[in-house]
Symmetry: C2
Subunit: 274 residues, 2 copies
């Protein structure tokens, strides 16, 4: 007998990118096991005509599988939201639900202008772009230039998670984050690489379990000393020794997502978004 | 007379990173003008004791400025959520509000396990890490190697937004996105650079207004021909001519955030997250 997992259609609907609606929706759906969710992100629904087209898609999905679809919506305009209220679906309406209590609390009438978040976009864009460029220029210790501009400098052995964490901090929070590998020659010399000793207050370490490091390194160089479990274990011991000796706080990235590592670094290092 | 803008404290509270609570909270607050919001992101509130400490911070904020703080919460555990229900604050409880209707609709009891999103994290981590590494390796046309593995190849003049868009697509959606600059020598030869003609079906163009391009280039090289408005206008005309001639769809990034550009590219190119 073949068990078929029940399936429900979920639509993340937004007048902007839908990234927030999708993230919140996925957190809600993660509470429920044993059901398959067919996901549809529907961005830029910024007028009533586009909303009606989406309603047609929702109706077709319901007719096809016989279940009410689930809608997770971030729509600023109450006119556009109203189009979906006619729909036979479970409607999780994020703005519709919370705007009224917030309006009452603040004693202010909400604006309903689509793309409001863009007002500050231009300056924020520059901050993030500059941070991304800085991080790319200072990825993997390739340059010491302008290192004094860094908000934060991550250190750790090769492939412990420095690059994705640095890029996420720059992209999401506008943080200028450099990163430097700790290499076997640094352990032999018992010294931090390059000019890092001058920037000790900006250093934060990343580490990882030997098993995970070995598995990540094997994707790049299988059957090498570099990726062997024995060598990974050895490098990690030396790196953690060095970080303790140099008074550098460090964090294990093994069981953390990129977002969790980035957020934990910010929390422990005491740094905020720009 | 000095006008003082009224101020309200806002706490984004989560048992995970708080990134979703913050994003949704900021979209809600953007509906209200003429008020300053002092923002506090409070991640990793994963037990009742930590929740009580946060309540103390909230109480202090309220006593200091005389207004009820606003809470935007994504907390899986109903025990932890209950700690905040005693608080004198406006509580926008994202999971508490929507879990019950979702549970009723699905006919399932919600799990209340903190860090549920992590179940799939390990595989997702690999997909994103591989995409980020691919994108870094193929940033700015530095390598043609393995280009057939790309999901998407962005083209456009220098500084039109290719790098941040590529990195966002890799980081957020696990899309392997290469990018190639269109350079004056390509316009002279009237040919796409390198081996791109072989990958025509994966190409998507970015463009930008001459004013914006000039202003972005001036941050890198002020007082240069490269950044002059006249030269930017000239390059953009030639690039757009080339993209039309080669049948490459393209998008103006000028008034778009990184997220909006990435999402629009995905929508127009017809590509989904991995």
């Amino acid at each position: 007998m073949v068990m078929i997992m029940p399936k429900r259609n979920v639509f993340f609907i937004s007048d902007s990118t839908g990234i927030t609606a999708e993230a919140l929706g996925l957190s809600l759906l993660a509470h429920f096991d044993g059901i398959e969710f067919e996901q549809h992100r529907v961005p830029f629904v910024d007028n009533v005509d586009k909303a009606r087209e989406v309603v047609t898609r929702i109706d077709m999905a319901r007719e096809k599988d016989g279940h009410r679809p689930i809608l997770v919506m971030t729509l600023v305009s109450s006119d556009i939201r109203a189009v979906f209220s006619e729909c036979d679906a479970l409607n999780l309406d994020l703005f519709g639900t919370f705007i009224n209590p917030l309006s009452a609390e603040l004693g202010l009438i909400p604006a309903q202008e689509i793309g409001m978040a863009r007002r500050v976009a231009s300056n924020e864009f520059r901050v993030r772009l500059n941070a991304i460029n800085f991080t790319l220029k200072h990825d993997d210790g390739v340059s010491d230039e302008d290192l004094e501009e860094a908000d934060l400098i991550l250190v750790g052995v090769s492939r412990c998670g420095k690059t994705p964490t640095s890029l996420y901090l720059a992209m999401q929070f506008g943080i200028k984050c450099a990163n430097y590998p700790l290499l076997p020659e640094d352990f032999e010399r018992r010294q931090l690489p390059g000019t890092l000793a001058q920037h000790r207050s900006k250093l934060f370490g990343l580490t990882v379990t030997a098993e995970r490091l070995s598995s990540i390194r094997k994707e790049r160089r299988p059957d090498s000393v570099y990726s062997s479990l024995h060598n990974c274990r050895h490098e990690l011991v030396l790196a953690e020794d060095m970080m303790r000796r140099e008074n550098i706080r460090y964090l294990d990235t093994s069981s953390r997502s990129i977002e969790e590592t980035a957020t934990t670094v910010m929390q422990q290092f005491g740094i905020e978004r720009h």
